[in-house]
Symmetry: C2
Subunit: 258 residues, 2 copies
Protein backbone atom coordinates (compact mmCIF):
# COMPACT_ATOMS: atom_id res chain seq x y z
CA UNK A 1 0.00 0.00 0.00
CA UNK A 2 1.37 3.37 -0.99
CA UNK A 3 0.65 6.27 1.36
CA UNK A 4 -0.81 9.14 -0.63
CA UNK A 5 -1.85 11.50 2.16
CA UNK A 6 0.36 14.13 3.72
CA UNK A 7 -1.80 13.85 6.82
CA UNK A 8 -1.08 10.16 7.29
CA UNK A 9 -0.07 9.57 10.92
CA UNK A 10 3.39 8.18 10.11
CA UNK A 11 4.08 11.02 7.70
CA UNK A 12 3.07 13.64 10.27
CA UNK A 13 5.22 11.98 12.92
CA UNK A 14 8.25 11.77 10.61
CA UNK A 15 7.93 15.43 9.64
CA UNK A 16 7.82 16.27 13.35
CA UNK A 17 10.86 14.13 14.19
CA UNK A 18 12.88 16.04 11.61
CA UNK A 19 11.89 19.46 12.89
CA UNK A 20 11.11 19.22 16.61
CA UNK A 21 13.65 18.43 19.29
CA UNK A 22 10.85 18.03 21.85
CA UNK A 23 9.13 15.36 19.78
CA UNK A 24 12.42 13.50 19.29
CA UNK A 25 12.92 13.48 23.06
CA UNK A 26 9.32 12.52 23.84
CA UNK A 27 9.40 9.63 21.36
CA UNK A 28 12.97 8.64 22.18
CA UNK A 29 13.75 8.73 18.45
CA UNK A 30 16.09 10.54 16.09
CA UNK A 31 15.64 11.02 12.37
CA UNK A 32 18.03 10.63 9.45
CA UNK A 33 17.50 11.34 5.76
CA UNK A 34 19.47 10.24 2.72
CA UNK A 35 21.10 7.02 1.58
CA UNK A 36 24.55 7.63 3.03
CA UNK A 37 23.49 8.93 6.42
CA UNK A 38 20.90 6.15 6.93
CA UNK A 39 23.42 3.46 5.98
CA UNK A 40 25.96 5.00 8.36
CA UNK A 41 23.44 4.96 11.19
CA UNK A 42 22.82 1.23 10.63
CA UNK A 43 26.54 0.51 10.28
CA UNK A 44 27.15 2.31 13.57
CA UNK A 45 24.76 -0.14 15.25
CA UNK A 46 21.79 2.15 15.84
CA UNK A 47 18.42 0.43 16.07
CA UNK A 48 15.96 1.28 13.32
CA UNK A 49 12.38 1.98 14.43
CA UNK A 50 10.75 2.48 11.02
CA UNK A 51 11.55 3.84 7.57
CA UNK A 52 9.65 6.04 5.11
CA UNK A 53 10.68 5.59 1.49
CA UNK A 54 9.38 7.17 -1.71
CA UNK A 55 8.28 4.86 -4.54
CA UNK A 56 11.22 5.96 -6.70
CA UNK A 57 13.76 5.53 -3.90
CA UNK A 58 12.46 2.01 -3.22
CA UNK A 59 13.55 1.02 -6.72
CA UNK A 60 16.62 3.21 -7.03
CA UNK A 61 18.18 2.29 -3.68
CA UNK A 62 16.90 -1.29 -3.45
CA UNK A 63 19.98 -2.61 -1.64
CA UNK A 64 19.33 -0.23 1.26
CA UNK A 65 15.55 -0.64 1.26
CA UNK A 66 15.87 -4.45 1.30
CA UNK A 67 18.24 -4.13 4.23
CA UNK A 68 15.69 -1.89 5.97
CA UNK A 69 12.85 -4.35 5.32
CA UNK A 70 14.84 -6.98 7.19
CA UNK A 71 14.96 -4.94 10.37
CA UNK A 72 11.99 -2.56 10.62
CA UNK A 73 8.65 -1.58 9.07
CA UNK A 74 9.11 0.28 5.76
CA UNK A 75 6.33 2.64 4.65
CA UNK A 76 6.21 3.52 0.96
CA UNK A 77 4.92 6.99 0.08
CA UNK A 78 4.39 8.96 -3.12
CA UNK A 79 7.02 11.43 -4.25
CA UNK A 80 4.79 14.35 -3.23
CA UNK A 81 4.22 12.98 0.24
CA UNK A 82 7.94 12.43 0.69
CA UNK A 83 8.62 16.02 -0.34
CA UNK A 84 6.09 17.19 2.22
CA UNK A 85 7.99 15.63 5.10
CA UNK A 86 11.57 16.15 3.92
CA UNK A 87 13.88 18.94 5.02
CA UNK A 88 16.05 18.62 1.94
CA UNK A 89 15.83 20.61 -1.27
CA UNK A 90 16.48 17.58 -3.47
CA UNK A 91 15.62 14.64 -1.23
CA UNK A 92 16.73 11.12 -2.14
CA UNK A 93 13.51 9.78 -0.65
CA UNK A 94 14.85 7.80 2.31
CA UNK A 95 13.81 8.63 5.89
CA UNK A 96 14.77 6.57 8.89
CA UNK A 97 13.61 6.86 12.51
CA UNK A 98 16.17 5.43 14.93
CA UNK A 99 16.17 4.74 18.64
CA UNK A 100 17.72 7.70 20.46
CA UNK A 101 21.11 6.74 21.84
CA UNK A 102 21.15 6.39 25.60
CA UNK A 103 23.32 9.36 26.37
CA UNK A 104 23.49 8.63 30.10
CA UNK A 105 25.63 5.56 29.50
CA UNK A 106 27.99 7.49 27.23
CA UNK A 107 29.57 9.48 30.08
CA UNK A 108 30.96 6.33 31.67
CA UNK A 109 32.27 5.15 28.30
CA UNK A 110 33.88 8.54 27.68
CA UNK A 111 35.65 8.59 31.05
CA UNK A 112 37.49 5.42 30.03
CA UNK A 113 38.91 7.09 26.92
CA UNK A 114 42.16 8.98 26.47
CA UNK A 115 41.35 11.88 24.15
CA UNK A 116 38.08 13.73 24.41
CA UNK A 117 36.53 17.05 23.48
CA UNK A 118 34.18 19.27 25.50
CA UNK A 119 31.98 21.80 23.75
CA UNK A 120 30.89 24.85 25.73
CA UNK A 121 27.78 26.42 24.18
CA UNK A 122 28.43 25.72 20.48
CA UNK A 123 25.20 27.13 19.10
CA UNK A 124 25.37 26.53 15.37
CA UNK A 125 24.30 23.01 14.34
CA UNK A 126 26.61 23.08 11.33
CA UNK A 127 29.60 24.00 13.49
CA UNK A 128 28.66 21.33 16.02
CA UNK A 129 28.39 18.58 13.40
CA UNK A 130 31.62 19.66 11.72
CA UNK A 131 33.48 19.61 15.04
CA UNK A 132 32.19 16.09 15.82
CA UNK A 133 33.28 14.93 12.35
CA UNK A 134 36.73 16.53 12.63
CA UNK A 135 37.27 15.26 16.17
CA UNK A 136 36.53 11.68 15.11
CA UNK A 137 38.88 12.06 12.14
CA UNK A 138 41.77 12.97 14.44
CA UNK A 139 41.20 10.11 16.86
CA UNK A 140 39.21 11.95 19.54
CA UNK A 141 37.16 9.26 21.28
CA UNK A 142 34.21 11.07 22.82
CA UNK A 143 32.45 14.42 23.12
CA UNK A 144 30.77 16.06 26.11
CA UNK A 145 28.43 18.95 25.34
CA UNK A 146 27.16 21.66 27.67
CA UNK A 147 23.38 21.66 27.83
CA UNK A 148 23.21 24.98 25.92
CA UNK A 149 24.89 23.52 22.84
CA UNK A 150 22.84 22.91 19.70
CA UNK A 151 21.07 19.52 19.62
CA UNK A 152 23.65 16.84 18.67
CA UNK A 153 20.85 14.75 17.16
CA UNK A 154 19.16 17.39 15.01
CA UNK A 155 19.13 16.52 11.30
CA UNK A 156 21.42 19.48 10.51
CA UNK A 157 24.01 18.42 13.09
CA UNK A 158 23.92 14.79 11.94
CA UNK A 159 24.28 15.86 8.31
CA UNK A 160 27.29 18.08 9.04
CA UNK A 161 28.83 15.29 11.11
CA UNK A 162 28.64 12.94 8.08
CA UNK A 163 27.83 9.97 10.29
CA UNK A 164 30.43 10.70 12.98
CA UNK A 165 27.56 11.71 15.26
CA UNK A 166 26.38 8.08 15.21
CA UNK A 167 29.80 6.64 15.98
CA UNK A 168 31.46 9.00 18.42
CA UNK A 169 30.11 8.63 21.97
CA UNK A 170 28.39 11.92 22.80
CA UNK A 171 26.83 13.00 26.06
CA UNK A 172 25.32 16.19 27.42
CA UNK A 173 26.49 17.64 30.74
CA UNK A 174 24.25 19.76 32.95
CA UNK A 175 27.36 21.39 34.43
CA UNK A 176 30.56 21.59 32.42
CA UNK A 177 32.42 22.82 35.53
CA UNK A 178 31.51 19.67 37.44
CA UNK A 179 32.42 17.59 34.41
CA UNK A 180 35.85 19.21 34.19
CA UNK A 181 36.45 18.55 37.88
CA UNK A 182 35.36 14.94 37.40
CA UNK A 183 37.70 14.56 34.42
CA UNK A 184 40.63 15.88 36.43
CA UNK A 185 39.85 13.38 39.21
CA UNK A 186 39.89 10.70 36.52
CA UNK A 187 43.38 11.66 35.40
CA UNK A 188 42.61 13.95 32.48
CA UNK A 189 44.60 17.07 31.78
CA UNK A 190 42.11 19.70 30.57
CA UNK A 191 42.89 22.41 28.00
CA UNK A 192 40.66 25.37 27.19
CA UNK A 193 41.16 26.92 23.73
CA UNK A 194 41.61 30.64 24.33
CA UNK A 195 42.53 33.76 22.38
CA UNK A 196 45.10 34.59 25.02
CA UNK A 197 48.77 34.97 24.29
CA UNK A 198 49.70 34.15 27.88
CA UNK A 199 48.32 30.66 27.26
CA UNK A 200 50.46 27.75 26.13
CA UNK A 201 51.15 28.05 22.44
CA UNK A 202 49.88 25.17 20.32
CA UNK A 203 52.72 23.20 18.75
CA UNK A 204 55.20 24.07 21.50
CA UNK A 205 54.20 21.34 23.91
CA UNK A 206 52.99 17.76 23.76
CA UNK A 207 49.54 16.80 24.89
CA UNK A 208 49.60 14.11 27.59
CA UNK A 209 48.14 10.69 26.83
CA UNK A 210 44.89 11.43 28.68
CA UNK A 211 43.56 14.88 27.82
CA UNK A 212 40.40 16.84 27.19
CA UNK A 213 40.06 19.89 24.94
CA UNK A 214 37.39 22.52 25.65
CA UNK A 215 36.15 24.56 22.67
CA UNK A 216 34.00 27.58 23.50
CA UNK A 217 31.08 29.48 22.05
CA UNK A 218 31.42 31.03 18.58
CA UNK A 219 31.29 34.58 19.94
CA UNK A 220 32.36 34.46 23.56
CA UNK A 221 34.78 31.56 23.81
CA UNK A 222 35.03 29.21 26.79
CA UNK A 223 33.08 30.46 29.82
CA UNK A 224 35.26 31.93 32.56
CA UNK A 225 34.16 29.46 35.21
CA UNK A 226 35.22 26.52 33.03
CA UNK A 227 38.40 28.15 31.72
CA UNK A 228 39.49 28.89 35.30
CA UNK A 229 39.73 25.15 35.96
CA UNK A 230 41.84 24.36 32.89
CA UNK A 231 45.21 24.89 31.32
CA UNK A 232 44.89 27.34 28.43
CA UNK A 233 46.05 26.73 24.89
CA UNK A 234 46.17 29.25 22.09
CA UNK A 235 46.62 28.87 18.37
CA UNK A 236 49.21 31.27 17.01
CA UNK A 237 47.47 33.43 14.39
CA UNK A 238 48.52 36.59 12.60
CA UNK A 239 46.10 38.10 10.13
CA UNK A 240 42.51 37.69 11.22
CA UNK A 241 41.28 38.47 14.72
CA UNK A 242 40.17 34.95 15.46
CA UNK A 243 39.29 31.56 13.99
CA UNK A 244 35.83 30.12 13.81
CA UNK A 245 35.13 27.46 16.43
CA UNK A 246 35.27 24.55 13.97
CA UNK A 247 38.59 25.68 12.46
CA UNK A 248 40.11 26.09 15.93
CA UNK A 249 38.87 22.64 16.92
CA UNK A 250 40.34 21.14 13.72
CA UNK A 251 43.82 22.53 14.33
CA UNK A 252 43.99 21.58 18.01
CA UNK A 253 42.53 18.09 17.45
CA UNK A 254 45.12 17.59 14.70
CA UNK A 255 47.90 18.35 17.21
CA UNK A 256 46.24 16.19 19.90
CA UNK A 257 46.05 13.29 17.47
CA UNK A 258 49.71 13.46 16.48
Amino acid sequence: MIIESRKNQTVVKSRGLLSEKKLREKEGLIAAEGVKLCAEALDAGLQAEYAVVSEEADKKYSALTERLRGICPVYIVTRDVYFSLSQQKTPQGIFLALKLLDKSKNLDRILEKNKIILLDCIQDSGNLGTIIRTAEAFGIEGAILSSDCADPYSPKTLRASMGSGFRLPVCVSSSLEKTVLGLKENGFETYAAMLDETAQRLGEFEFPQKCALIIGNEGHGVSEAVAGLCRKVYIPIRGAESLNAAAAAAVICYEMGK
Copy 2:
Protein backbone atom coordinates in the same frame (compact mmCIF):
# COMPACT_ATOMS: atom_id res chain seq x y z
CA MET B 1 14.32 63.12 4.95
CA ILE B 2 13.44 59.62 6.07
CA ILE B 3 12.66 57.11 3.33
CA GLU B 4 9.36 55.40 4.14
CA SER B 5 8.78 53.43 0.95
CA ARG B 6 10.05 49.94 0.25
CA LYS B 7 9.88 50.80 -3.43
CA ASN B 8 12.28 53.72 -3.14
CA GLN B 9 14.96 53.38 -5.83
CA THR B 10 17.90 53.21 -3.42
CA VAL B 11 16.11 50.64 -1.27
CA VAL B 12 15.32 48.46 -4.27
CA LYS B 13 18.91 48.69 -5.50
CA SER B 14 20.31 47.82 -2.06
CA ARG B 15 18.03 44.80 -1.74
CA GLY B 16 19.24 43.68 -5.16
CA LEU B 17 22.92 44.16 -4.33
CA LEU B 18 22.50 41.86 -1.34
CA SER B 19 20.80 39.10 -3.28
CA GLU B 20 21.95 39.23 -6.92
CA LYS B 21 25.47 38.53 -8.07
CA LYS B 22 24.61 39.82 -11.55
CA LEU B 23 23.52 43.20 -10.21
CA ARG B 24 26.68 43.45 -8.11
CA GLU B 25 28.78 42.84 -11.20
CA LYS B 26 26.74 45.18 -13.41
CA GLU B 27 26.95 48.01 -10.87
CA GLY B 28 30.54 47.23 -9.88
CA LEU B 29 29.46 47.21 -6.24
CA ILE B 30 29.41 44.85 -3.30
CA ALA B 31 27.20 45.03 -0.23
CA ALA B 32 27.92 44.65 3.47
CA GLU B 33 25.56 44.68 6.42
CA GLY B 34 26.20 45.13 10.12
CA VAL B 35 28.37 47.44 12.21
CA LYS B 36 31.43 45.21 12.42
CA LEU B 37 31.57 44.12 8.79
CA CYS B 38 30.99 47.67 7.48
CA ALA B 39 33.71 49.07 9.75
CA GLU B 40 36.07 46.31 8.61
CA ALA B 41 35.40 47.15 4.96
CA LEU B 42 36.31 50.81 5.59
CA ASP B 43 39.36 49.86 7.65
CA ALA B 44 40.52 47.62 4.81
CA GLY B 45 40.48 50.66 2.51
CA LEU B 46 37.43 49.86 0.40
CA GLN B 47 35.68 52.84 -1.12
CA ALA B 48 32.14 53.48 0.12
CA GLU B 49 29.55 54.32 -2.53
CA TYR B 50 26.53 54.94 -0.29
CA ALA B 51 25.00 53.77 2.97
CA VAL B 52 21.46 52.93 4.07
CA VAL B 53 20.84 53.28 7.78
CA SER B 54 17.71 52.81 9.87
CA GLU B 55 16.59 55.67 12.14
CA GLU B 56 17.42 53.64 15.24
CA ALA B 57 20.85 52.60 13.95
CA ASP B 58 21.69 56.22 13.15
CA LYS B 59 21.40 57.04 16.85
CA LYS B 60 22.69 53.77 18.26
CA TYR B 61 25.81 53.52 16.09
CA SER B 62 26.48 57.24 15.71
CA ALA B 63 30.27 56.85 15.63
CA LEU B 64 30.02 54.70 12.51
CA THR B 65 27.27 56.73 10.85
CA GLU B 66 29.20 59.97 11.39
CA ARG B 67 32.22 58.31 9.80
CA LEU B 68 30.04 57.26 6.88
CA ARG B 69 28.60 60.79 6.45
CA GLY B 70 32.14 62.03 5.97
CA ILE B 71 32.77 59.80 2.98
CA CYS B 72 29.52 58.95 1.16
CA PRO B 73 25.80 59.72 0.93
CA VAL B 74 23.87 58.23 3.87
CA TYR B 75 20.17 57.46 3.36
CA ILE B 76 18.03 57.15 6.49
CA VAL B 77 15.10 54.71 6.30
CA THR B 78 12.40 53.55 8.69
CA ARG B 79 12.85 50.33 10.61
CA ASP B 80 10.29 48.58 8.39
CA VAL B 81 12.00 49.67 5.20
CA TYR B 82 15.36 48.47 6.52
CA PHE B 83 13.83 45.08 7.36
CA SER B 84 12.49 44.86 3.82
CA LEU B 85 15.96 45.08 2.29
CA SER B 86 17.99 43.18 4.90
CA GLN B 87 19.06 39.56 4.65
CA GLN B 88 19.50 39.24 8.40
CA LYS B 89 17.01 37.95 10.92
CA THR B 90 17.86 40.60 13.50
CA PRO B 91 19.51 43.35 11.44
CA GLN B 92 21.50 46.10 13.13
CA GLY B 93 20.23 48.54 10.50
CA ILE B 94 23.49 49.39 8.69
CA PHE B 95 23.92 48.70 4.96
CA LEU B 96 26.92 49.77 2.93
CA ALA B 97 27.51 49.62 -0.83
CA LEU B 98 31.21 49.48 -1.67
CA LYS B 99 33.18 49.69 -4.89
CA LEU B 100 33.90 46.18 -6.13
CA LEU B 101 37.57 45.39 -5.75
CA ASP B 102 39.42 45.26 -9.02
CA LYS B 103 40.16 41.57 -9.06
CA SER B 104 42.29 41.75 -12.21
CA LYS B 105 45.03 43.64 -10.36
CA ASN B 106 45.03 41.15 -7.52
CA LEU B 107 46.66 38.37 -9.54
CA ASP B 108 49.83 40.41 -9.98
CA ARG B 109 49.84 41.25 -6.28
CA ILE B 110 49.35 37.59 -5.38
CA LEU B 111 52.22 36.40 -7.58
CA GLU B 112 54.58 38.55 -5.49
CA LYS B 113 53.57 36.77 -2.30
CA ASN B 114 55.08 33.70 -0.64
CA LYS B 115 52.14 31.71 0.73
CA ILE B 116 48.89 31.49 -1.15
CA ILE B 117 45.82 29.30 -1.39
CA LEU B 118 43.92 28.13 -4.49
CA LEU B 119 40.31 27.02 -4.21
CA ASP B 120 39.01 24.57 -6.79
CA CYS B 121 35.21 24.68 -6.97
CA ILE B 122 34.37 25.43 -3.33
CA GLN B 123 30.61 25.74 -3.69
CA ASP B 124 29.34 26.61 -0.25
CA SER B 125 29.57 30.33 0.58
CA GLY B 126 29.99 29.59 4.28
CA ASN B 127 32.90 27.23 3.59
CA LEU B 128 34.48 29.74 1.21
CA GLY B 129 34.28 32.60 3.72
CA THR B 130 35.57 30.41 6.55
CA ILE B 131 38.53 29.28 4.43
CA ILE B 132 39.42 32.89 3.56
CA ARG B 133 39.21 33.83 7.25
CA THR B 134 41.33 30.87 8.36
CA ALA B 135 43.89 31.36 5.60
CA GLU B 136 44.42 35.00 6.61
CA ALA B 137 44.74 33.96 10.25
CA PHE B 138 47.63 31.63 9.41
CA GLY B 139 49.51 34.16 7.33
CA ILE B 140 48.36 33.11 3.86
CA GLU B 141 48.74 36.22 1.69
CA GLY B 142 46.34 35.71 -1.19
CA ALA B 143 43.63 33.47 -2.62
CA ILE B 144 42.93 32.41 -6.20
CA LEU B 145 39.49 30.95 -6.89
CA SER B 146 38.37 28.83 -9.81
CA SER B 147 35.49 30.47 -11.65
CA ASP B 148 33.06 27.78 -10.41
CA CYS B 149 33.63 28.69 -6.76
CA ALA B 150 30.89 30.48 -4.82
CA ASP B 151 30.96 34.28 -5.16
CA PRO B 152 33.71 35.64 -2.89
CA TYR B 153 31.76 38.90 -2.55
CA SER B 154 28.34 37.51 -1.70
CA PRO B 155 27.03 38.73 1.66
CA LYS B 156 27.16 35.17 3.07
CA THR B 157 30.81 34.70 2.07
CA LEU B 158 31.81 38.10 3.43
CA ARG B 159 29.98 37.40 6.70
CA ALA B 160 31.69 34.00 7.16
CA SER B 161 35.05 35.60 6.31
CA MET B 162 34.55 38.11 9.17
CA GLY B 163 36.20 40.87 7.18
CA SER B 164 39.12 38.77 5.89
CA GLY B 165 37.47 38.89 2.46
CA PHE B 166 38.13 42.64 2.37
CA ARG B 167 41.77 42.37 3.39
CA LEU B 168 43.12 39.25 1.70
CA PRO B 169 43.83 39.78 -2.01
CA VAL B 170 41.41 37.50 -3.87
CA CYS B 171 41.18 36.87 -7.60
CA VAL B 172 39.21 34.53 -9.83
CA SER B 173 40.99 32.36 -12.41
CA SER B 174 39.30 31.22 -15.60
CA SER B 175 41.68 28.23 -15.71
CA LEU B 176 43.18 26.88 -12.52
CA GLU B 177 45.49 24.63 -14.57
CA LYS B 178 47.02 27.62 -16.32
CA THR B 179 47.28 29.42 -13.01
CA VAL B 180 49.15 26.49 -11.45
CA LEU B 181 51.55 26.41 -14.40
CA GLY B 182 52.08 30.15 -14.05
CA LEU B 183 52.71 29.81 -10.32
CA LYS B 184 55.32 27.12 -10.93
CA GLU B 185 57.05 29.39 -13.46
CA ASN B 186 57.07 32.06 -10.77
CA GLY B 187 58.88 29.81 -8.33
CA PHE B 188 55.96 28.43 -6.33
CA GLU B 189 55.83 24.83 -5.16
CA THR B 190 52.19 23.71 -5.49
CA TYR B 191 50.47 21.24 -3.16
CA ALA B 192 47.06 19.66 -3.77
CA ALA B 193 45.23 18.44 -0.65
CA MET B 194 44.21 14.85 -1.40
CA LEU B 195 42.69 11.89 0.41
CA ASP B 196 45.50 9.73 -0.86
CA GLU B 197 47.86 7.87 1.40
CA THR B 198 50.56 7.79 -1.27
CA ALA B 199 50.76 11.57 -0.98
CA GLN B 200 53.18 13.36 1.30
CA ARG B 201 51.92 13.21 4.84
CA LEU B 202 51.25 16.57 6.49
CA GLY B 203 53.61 17.25 9.37
CA GLU B 204 56.39 15.07 7.95
CA PHE B 205 57.90 17.68 5.66
CA GLU B 206 58.45 21.42 5.64
CA PHE B 207 56.70 23.68 3.19
CA PRO B 208 59.14 25.74 1.13
CA GLN B 209 59.17 29.52 1.53
CA LYS B 210 57.13 30.07 -1.65
CA CYS B 211 54.20 27.70 -1.87
CA ALA B 212 50.59 27.39 -2.93
CA LEU B 213 47.99 25.05 -1.44
CA ILE B 214 45.06 23.81 -3.54
CA ILE B 215 41.87 22.85 -1.68
CA GLY B 216 39.24 20.99 -3.72
CA ASN B 217 35.49 20.75 -3.93
CA GLU B 218 33.53 19.59 -0.87
CA GLY B 219 32.49 16.33 -2.54
CA HIS B 220 35.01 15.58 -5.26
CA GLY B 221 38.26 17.10 -4.07
CA VAL B 222 40.82 18.74 -6.36
CA SER B 223 40.10 18.14 -10.05
CA GLU B 224 42.39 15.58 -11.68
CA ALA B 225 43.80 17.98 -14.24
CA VAL B 226 44.94 20.37 -11.52
CA ALA B 227 46.12 17.66 -9.11
CA GLY B 228 48.25 16.15 -11.87
CA LEU B 229 50.37 19.30 -11.95
CA CYS B 230 50.98 19.42 -8.18
CA ARG B 231 52.67 17.64 -5.33
CA LYS B 232 50.07 15.92 -3.18
CA VAL B 233 49.65 16.35 0.55
CA TYR B 234 47.37 14.35 2.81
CA ILE B 235 46.21 14.90 6.34
CA PRO B 236 46.56 11.76 8.45
CA ILE B 237 43.08 10.89 9.74
CA ARG B 238 41.71 7.81 11.46
CA GLY B 239 38.07 7.78 12.42
CA ALA B 240 35.93 9.58 9.88
CA GLU B 241 36.20 9.07 6.12
CA SER B 242 37.21 12.62 5.36
CA LEU B 243 37.35 16.17 6.65
CA ASN B 244 35.21 19.00 5.41
CA ALA B 245 37.01 21.39 3.08
CA ALA B 246 37.28 24.20 5.64
CA ALA B 247 38.68 21.90 8.33
CA ALA B 248 41.26 20.49 5.88
CA ALA B 249 42.26 24.01 4.84
CA ALA B 250 42.62 25.05 8.50
CA VAL B 251 44.99 22.23 9.36
CA ILE B 252 47.20 22.61 6.28
CA CYS B 253 47.33 26.41 6.50
CA TYR B 254 48.33 26.03 10.15
CA GLU B 255 51.28 23.86 9.10
CA MET B 256 52.15 26.20 6.21
CA GLY B 257 52.19 29.15 8.58
CA LYS B 258 54.53 27.51 11.10
